[in-house]
Amino acid sequence: MSGIVVTGISPGMGRRLGRQAREWIPAVVVFVAAIGLWEGVIAAFDIQQFLLPKPTDIAKACWDERHTLWPAGWYTFKEALGGFALGSLAGMAAATLIGRFKTLGSALMPIAIAANAIPIIAFAPIFNAWFDPLSPNSKIAIAAVLCFLPVMVNTLRGLQSASPRQIELMRSYAASNFTIWRRVRVPTALPYVFTALKVASVLAMIGAVVGEYFGGSYDALGVLIRSKAQILDFQIAWAGILVASVLGIALYAAVVAAERLVVRWAPDGRDS
C-alpha cells in the first residue's frame, strides 16, 4: 500500500516534506489544543453563547449559512483587494518619485511619517460620507489609504538602502541613473516592498470590514457580522469573522507566495 503512495516522490523530496511536516507539527498541536480548551471551558463553566459560542457551533453556522457567508466574504474581499492594489501601487509610485527628487522627499517625508501614526481607520465614517456609503468605493478608498503609507515609507527606505559601493561600482561602468535604479535600487528595495505588502494585505482586509461596520451594502460581510450580532445571532457573527480571517490569511499567503517567486535569491530560512 505505502509503496504505491511513495512512488514518484524522490527520496530528497520525501525528506524535505518530512522536515516541513515536523516543523508544522508543534503549531498544529497548539491550535488543536486551543480549540479543544475553548470547547471544554464553555462546557465546564456554562458560558453563555452571546459571550463566546462553542467552536463546533461556529463551524456548524459556517456550514449552514455558507450560501450567504461566502458570497458576502467574496464581496468584501474584492473591496479589500481593490484597495490593496490601488493603495500599494500609489505608495510605490510616490516612493519612486520622492526617491528621484530629493527636495520633494525632504518636504514630504516628515509629513508622511507623522501621517503613518494617525489611526486612519477612524476616518471610516468620513469616507462613507465622501463616497456613496452603499457602494464598494468608500471601502476601497479606506483600504487604499490604509495601505498607501506603509508601502510608500518602506519602498522609499528600500530604494535608499542600496549600498554606496554598489552604486560606485555602477558609476565606474559609466552606468546612467536609470540603469542604477533598475539594476541596483529596485532589486535592493524588493524585500522591503514585500514586507510592506504583507502588512498592507492585512490592513486592507481590516479597512474593508471595519468600513462596512459603519454602513454598506447588505451583500457585504461587515454589514452581515454587525447585523447578526445586533439580533444576537452570535454563531453566525463569529462564522462571519472566521470567513474574514480565512480570506485575510489567503491574501497574506498570496503575497508571501509572490515574494518567494520574485525574491528568489534570499538565503533559506527567512521569516515570513
Partner: protein, 271 residues
C-alpha cells in the same frame, strides 16, 4: 584616426584634492606616471588619501586641482569608455545575481550578446578557478571566493587598467597570500596595468613593480621604491634576502613619513 599607444597608461600632474567639509586636504601636489603593464602599489597610513587617489584616477572623485589622464584621455572620457575595472575591499557582489551574472554585469552594460557573455564568463571562471560555482549565489561563497568573483568581474571586459582598493584587506592571512599568488599569475598572463592600494608592506613588495609610499594627511608621495625582484615570483620570493631589503626600504620610508621629507631627501631615500 591613428591611435598611438600612449607612453603612460596613467598620467597624474600636480594633483590636489581638498574636501570642503572640514576643509581637509586629502592629496597635495601628486605627480605620478604609470607605464603600460606596471603593477604599482600605493601604501601609506590610514587617511593618507591613497584610496582617494585611486578614485580620482577612476573619475569617481573629482580633483580640486591638477589633471589626470588615462590612456591619453581625460579621466571622465576614460570612465565613459570603460577603460578600467575596479575591485573594492569587499567584493560588492549583487546578492540577486548568480556568480555568472555578477561577472557578466559589465558585459551586459556594454551590450554584449548572450553567447559572447557566456563564453567570456566561462573563461573568467577558469582564470579565477571558480568553475563549478557558476550558478551559486554570493552568500554561498567564502570571502576569498567572493573576492575572486569580483576580480573576474573587473577583468571580464579586458580593461587596460585595473584599480584595486585594498582588495584582500578583509581576508585572513592564508587566503590573502594565496590570492596574492593568483593575482600575480593573472597579471603575468594578461599584462594589464594595476594600481593596488594596500596597508601591507610585504604584500606591496611581493606584488609590485613599483611601490609608491605616501605620507600622512595631506597625502604626498614620500618616495617610490622600484621592486626589482625577478618574475615569475612565487612562495620562495618571500624568503629571498632581496625581498627583506625592499620591505625594510619601504618601512623606513613609511617611518620617516611624519617628518615631512623634502623631495630631494625622499628621492635620496628611494634610490
Amino acid at each position: 584616426m591613428s591611435q598611438q599607444q600612449p607612453e603612460h597608461v596613467v598620467e597624474i600632474a600636480n594633483l590636489t584634492k581638498t574636501f570642503p567639509r572640514g576643509n581637509i586636504t586629502a592629496l597635495e601636489n601628486i605627480d605620478l606616471n604609470l607605464r603600460p603593464g606596471e603593477f604599482v602599489s600605493l601604501i601609506g597610513p590610514s587617511g593618507c588619501g591613497k584610496s582617494t587617489l585611486l578614485r580620482v584616477i577612476g573619475d569617481l572623485v573629482e580633483p580640486t586641482q591638477g589633471t589626470v589622464t588615462v590612456n591619453g584621455k581625460t579621466a571622465r572620457q576614460a570612465r565613459a569608455g570603460r577603460d578600467y575595472g575596479i575591485v573594492f575591499q569587499d567584493a560588492v557582489l549583487f546578492d540577486w545575481r548568480t556568480v555568472t551574472k555578477n561577472i557578466a554585469l559589465p558585459l551586459e552594460l556594454l551590450g554584449w550578446d548572450r553567447a559572447k557573455r557566456r563564453r567570456r564568463v566561462e573563461e573568467m571562471l577558469e582564470l579565477v578557478e571558480l568553475t563549478g560555482f557558476a550558478d551559486h549565489h554570493p552568500w554561498q561563497l567564502s570571502g576569498g571566493m567572493q573576492q575572486r568573483v569580483s576580480i573576474a568581474r573587473a577583468l571580464a571586459f579586458e580593461p587596460a587598467l585595473l584599480l584595486m582598493d585594498e582588495p584582500f584587506g578583509a581576508l585572513d592571512e592564508m587566503t590573502r597570500e594565496r590570492l596574492n599568488l593568483e593575482l600575480l599569475s593573472i597579471w603575468e598572463k594578461l599584462g594589464s596595468t594595476v594600481v593596488f592600494v594596500t596597508h601591507s608592506i610585504s604584500e606591496a613588495v611581493f606584488l609590485s613593480t613599483r611601490v609608491v609610499v605616501m605620507s600622512p594627511r595631506p597625502g604626498r608621495i614620500a618616495g617610490i621604491v622600484d621592486i626589482d625582484l625577478p618574475h615569475p615570483r612565487g612562495v620562495e620570493t618571500r624568503e629571498e634576502p632581496r625581498f627583506f631589503e625592499l620591505v625594510t626600504q619601504v618601512r623606513e620610508l613609511l617611518r620617516l613619513r611624519g617628518e615631512h621629507l623634502l623631495p630631494e631627501e625622499a628621492a635620496a631615500l628611494s634610490e
